[in-house]
């Protein structure tokens, strides 16, 4: 074992990490928009072509009730996290913790509901273009939504683990929580817009 020493001036201020996360979340959101745009394109393209008139096989009807449940869970989760975020002052208050916990738990419920829906679905993946886009769009959305739930959970967990922080400690973890929550919000809003698109296209427009 050996040790080594280095010396530098100007260590980095904490606002840099915050701006990293802020810009990063916007880029992540743009990338995710393009990802789901591909499924939106597939929906409209296959619908327009309707090859062998099998875009919608008879009976390949996604049941709206399940879709509504997933949509409501996602939107409630986002709304809950927005509320929680506004409560965030020094990252420790109970309203923040309770609201953010509710947000990520409801978000997780959305994923569970989605995968449960596949089990109870009365048509399979082979049932035409709409069915294919349905499975692709909802499954990929569920995976990425899980990422959003993860982000919310980490912020909640942080406040549980370190409830008190010294004020004025610039490298204090909670100094990053507010910016991180703000950035998470950007991603959450993007995902909720995607989910609304998914619901409208897959369950209403068909």
């Amino acid at each position: 074992m050996s040790t080594t020493e280095t010396t530098i001036a100007d260590p980095e201020g904490p606002e840099v990490l915050a701006s990293n996360i802020a810009v990063g979340s916007r880029l992540l959101s743009s990338a995710v928009v393009f990802l789901f745009m591909s499924f939106v394109f597939a929906f409209f393209y296959l619908r327009a072509l309707n090859t062998s008139h099998l875009f919608r096989e008879p009976g390949a009807n996604p049941p709206t009730a399940w879709g509504v449940v997933v949509l409501v869970c996602v939107l409630a989760s986002v709304a809950g996290f927005e509320f929680a975020r506004r409560q965030l002052s020094d990252g420790t208050g109970t309203p923040w913790r309770a609201a953010s916990a509710a947000a990520w738990v409801i978000g997780l419920a959305a994923v569970v509901v989605q995968f449960t829906q596949y089990y109870y679905l009365h048509f399979g993946a082979t049932a035409g273009g709409l069915a294919s886009v349905f499975f692709g769009f909802t499954a990929v959305f569920a995976v990425f939504w899980l990422g959003a739930v993860y982000w919310m959970e980490t912020l909640w967990a942080q406040s549980v683990r370190q409830p008190k922080t010294a004020a004025g400690d610039v490298h204090s973890p909670s100094a990053l929580m507010r910016p991180s929550a703000d950035s998470c919000m950007i991603f959450l809003y993007t995902m909720s817009v995607v989910e609304i698109f998914a619901f409208v296209l897959l369950y209403l427009v068909k």
Binding site: T51, S52, E57, A60, F123, G124, A125, T126, A127, G128, A131
Partner: protein, 286 residues
């Protein structure tokens, strides 16, 4: 560049030199391209499509000559004359950063060239030159005598081509024969994966997409043979998916097609009815 090249003290006028060399190079290369190299550019003169495509290629190649010469002459000149002097000391060049007039001039000239090329290409697309490229089920460019065109369906499958003549009883043959001087309307489709019907000397290329009908037109103008190759990777024997087509006189064609109808009469009865797309059984049920 040339305007600021006049320097005091007899320094060489690089801009003028470059312009002169470029003019000479262009004056040589353009006629060479038009009259020496041009005639040898494929795809030959066997059909109306290829003759127009040939013209397009010669025009593009000729227009490329001044551009090519400009870059070559300029870079060669710079490499020859704008060198670091001998010795160990590293000398800097002048601190020029930009001249907006030159940038704008370049931008305008290149934009005009592009707009010109695009216009020329679009006009040509609506003439014979573009008819050979697969236009989909609703072609935009249609030849004048399309109503009397001979309909030939090209069916691609792994790994050979067959051809179906709907106006001759829907007979399907492994060989392609066409009558000379008559407009042909190809309907290209596939029954498994994506292929690409490339009748090379006829100047026809159309993707064979399963479930889709791709239209292309050609009017062969000379008797002879032409190669048919697949130009879209379709699996193991993609490179072996070749055949030879023939362009023959009207009477020879009539004889040939009658012979095909006789030869394949039993098979034709079992074929599915002529359709622009085919879905081979079994179709998977969901």
């Amino acid at each position: 560049m040339s305007t600021s090249a006049a320097t005091a003290g007899g320094a060489p006028r690089h801009g003028v030199r470059i312009a002169v060399i470029w003019a000479v190079a262009t004056a040589i290369s353009v006629p060479v391209m038009i009259w020496v190299i041009g005639p040898h550019i494929p795809p030959g003169a066997m059909s109306n499509d290829t003759r127009d495509q040939h013209t397009v290629d010669v025009v593009l190649a000729t227009l490329a000559m001044p551009v090519l010469m400009l870059i070559w002459v300029y870079f060669a000149y710079s490499i020859r004359y704008f060198r670091q002097p001998e010795g160990d000391v590293i000398v800097d060049g002048p601190p020029d950063r930009a001249q907006p007039r030159i940038q704008i001039l370049w931008l305008v000239v290149t934009l005009l060239m592009v707009i010109g090329l695009a216009t020329y290409g679009t006009i040509d697309l609506l003439n014979d030159a573009g008819l050979g490229g697969g236009e989909g089920p609703h072609p935009l460019a249609v030849p004048a005598d399309a109503k009397n065109a001979l309909q030939v369906q090209v069916i691609g499958q792994q790994w050979f081509w067959t051809f179906r003549y709907p106006s001759y009883g829907g007979v399907e043959t492994p060989k392609l024969e066409l009558p000379v001087n008559r407009e042909v309307e190809f309907h290209v489709t596939s029954v498994d994966v994506i292929h690409d019907f490339w009748a090379i000397e006829l100047g026809v290329k159309a993707d064979a997409v399963p479930g889709a009908d791709n239209t292309a037109f050609v009017k062969p103008l000379e008797n002879g043979t032409f190669q048919v190759r697949c130009a879209e990777l379709c699996g193991l024997w993609h490179g072996h998916m070749n055949t030879t087509g023939r362009v023959v006189s009207d009477s020879q064609f009539a004889t040939w097609i009658a012979a095909q109808q006789t030869k394949y009469s039993t098979i034709t009865k079992d074929l599915p009815p002529y359709s622009l797309v085919y879905y081979p059984q079994p179709v998977r049920n969901g």
